[in-house]
């Protein structure tokens, strides 16, 4: 079946698909067993494309009823009422974007400091164990951060941090309202902790990919270690670091469990960090299994589609930026 198809492809010219097929099948294995081996492993490799394609198609198809019903209004609607079949995603989009951006603002400087320390400043014997320890932060499952957030972080915020902030900075709209503990602030902190290792380890890999001749040149000109980092290494690593940051943003947007457990889960748009908020991933986690009507399920799926589209786009941009700096181990972002 496959070989017939391969034969039927005209040589020399042809569509994008046929060229892809020849690239796949035509590597010139003579031994029939080798050809079969090539095809079998190729099919397994193709699963990655297949799954990603099927995911795109399936999630899009399942959100079609909601897309047809609401159109663009879905993105700006504020009401979410399954009983009245009214669905608007704005509070969730707002909560997701705000919590992720704030977490990014918190995590990026710290992660950069870690990356610079691990790649440029730390004594060699310390680099491996320290790098491993930072990566352990990424190994701890999301649900455990959530548990810790509920029972350790949130009470601490409620009893110490938030009253202090309210007393000193209470005139700002960001620090008003009842200190509840569970709310946007807890969500931001947890997110920042969780994306920190991603940004740090990818940035470290990017820094390590910078050619050492740049460092030697800077040092030979008499610069200090720090001047070498700031003026020679960082500029040539900047696009890769931007990629790492975008990768971190993608993770923050899609992070589900820990955020769901601590962010308070109330769909309101508020400027205060003390108030509860809600994210796209959280509302899906909370309501998907219980969605009663088809339109309800479809609306929730459309939230997932938004999330999927945005994170895939961010990932593509991030990969391209990181690849520009040099070959960086691909598993790095995953850890």
């Amino acid at each position: 079946m496959q070989s017939k198809f391969a034969m039927s492809v005209p040589q020399g010219r042809g569509s994008w698909l046929s060229r892809l097929w020849r690239a796949f099948a035509g590597t010139g294995e003579v031994n029939p067993a080798d050809r079969i081996f090539l095809w079998v492993t190729g099919l397994f490799a193709g699963t990655a494309i297949l799954v990603l394609g099927a995911m795109t198609l399936q999630v899009f198809r399942a959100s079609l009823p909601s897309i047809r019903q609401f159109g663009w209004r879905f993105l700006i609607g504020k009401d979410w009422d399954p009983v009245l079949d009214a669905f608007g995603a704005l509070p969730y989009i707002y909560g997701t974007v705000v919590s992720s951006l704030l977490a990014l603002a918190l995590a990026v400087p710290i992660a950069l400091g870690i990356a610079i320390y691990l790649a440029e400043l730390a004594p060699t014997w310390l680099r491996r164990p320290l790098g491993f320890t930072v990566e352990l932060l990424a190994a701890i499952p999301s649900v455990i951060y959530g548990l810790w957030g509920i029972f350790v972080l949130a009470p601490w915020l409620r009893d110490s941090v938030q009253p202090f902030l309210a007393a000193r900075l209470g005139f700002l709209p960001f620090f008003q309202g009842t200190p509840r503990g569970l709310g946007l602030m807890a969500g931001v902190l947890i997110l920042a902790i969780m994306i920190l290792p991603t940004i740090a380890s990818v940035s470290r890999d990017v820094l390590e990919a910078v050619p050492s001749t740049l460092r030697e040149g800077a040092l030979a000109l008499g610069s200090t270690r720090w001047e070498m980092v700031r003026k020679a290494v960082l500029p040539s690593a900047s696009s890769g670091i931007l990629g790492a940051v975008i990768l971190g943003l993608g993770r923050a947007l899609g992070e589900t469990m820990a955020v769901t457990m601590v962010i308070g889960n109330r769909a309101e748009i508020s400027f205060s960090l003390f108030d509860p908020s809600y994210t796209l991933a959280s509302v899906i986690a909370n309501e998907y299994a219980e969605a009663s009507s088809d339109l309800y399920l479809s609306a929730l799926t459309e939230l997932g589609l938004i999330l999927f589209g945005v994170t895939v786009l961010l990932n593509i941009i991030a990969r391209l930026l990181i690849w520009r700096v040099g070959r960086v181990p691909s598993g790095a972002g995953r850890s």
Partner: protein, 281 residues
């Protein structure tokens, strides 16, 4: 001149300490999480906790045997689907993948690894749960397999690339067919490293909650039927943590400690195994 030099030197020292400070700052939550887990979780460890089923609400005691068994089955299913596909796909990428198709596969796998796990849950829900008309362990296993696939595939590729070409050439020169060289020599040489990658993927899958919420769903009974809902450790931690019962909170901490121990052991083992010669970072 001297002043400017002193200032530069000062900046250098300040920046070094600032960077070290960032590292220490990042370790605070790690230490705090591990400390709280140990303090609050250790008390919940008991024979009953590992061997008994959950008691009805309002009764204290009982355990999480269903969740431990469920997690084992779900992760096992994930491995059964994910590992063969991932490893063989990785073999293709390393051995034959220097072409457009290979590039496209690599790109898809990288993008897949960034997809939020909750959308994987949605995908499996629309594909499997809606077709079977019920939540099932099978759906949960498929979701975990999808999450493991890109990691396993890309790790396998990276490690097979480290295998020196002279080994391949030696095999081929002896007249061994290419597929046997790849399976018997190349794959075997890369095996310890691939095992490491698989362990990291398993550690990740064992802690995944979001994709299981509406695929395997959860169950308070010990069930090994693959077409029925099945409990799992992370989902049960979540349910117990957001519940209003103190006894459930206590059990959630104990289960969390067990889960973290498992994940940490897998991670440390993987790290120790990569110390083997030839595969250092």
């Amino acid at each position: 001149m001297i002043d400017s030099f002193a200032r530069r030197k000062l900046w250098d020292i300040l920046a070094r300490w600032a960077c070290l400070g960032m590292v220490i700052l990042a370790l605070v939550p790690l230490v705090s999480v591990l400390f709280d887990l140990t303090v609050k979780g250790l008390g919940g460890f008991s024979w009953d906790f590992f061997t008994q089923l959950p008691k009805p609400v309002n009764e204290t005691g009982g355990g999480m045997a269903n969740a431990f068994a469920g997690s084992a089955v779900l992760v096992g299913l994930g491995c059964a689907f994910g590992i063969p596909v991932g490893v063989l796909g990785g073999v293709y990428l390393a051995e034959f993948g220097q072409n457009r198709f290979g590039k496209f596969v690599r790109f898809s796998a990288d993008v897949m690894s960034g997809v939020p796990s909750i959308t994987v849950g949605i995908f499996v829900y629309t594909l499997v749960v809606l077709t079977m008309h019920r939540f099932s362990a099978l759906a949960g296993g498929i979701a975990l397999a999808i999450l493991m696939l890109p990691t396993v595939m890309r790790t396998t590729e990276e490690l097979l690339r480290l295998v020196p070409d002279s080994l391949r050439e030696a095999g081929l020169a002896l007249g061994v067919p290419k597929w046997r060289v790849i399976l018997g020599v190349v794959l075997r040489t890369g095996a310890p490293g691939i095992a490491t990658g698989i362990m990291l993927a398993v550690a990740r899958a064992a802690g995944e909650t979001a994709p299981l919420l509406f695929t395997a769903f959860g169950s308070r009974f010990l069930s090994l039927k693959l077409d029925q809902p099945m409990g799992s450790l992370p989902v049960q931690i979540y349910t117990y943590a957001v519940s209003p019962y103190d006894d459930w909170h206590r059990q959630a901490w104990a289960a969390a400690l067990a889960l973290v121990l498992l994940v940490l052991i897998l991670n440390i083992l993987a790290r120790v195994m990569t110390r083997q010669p030839g595969q250092g970072r």
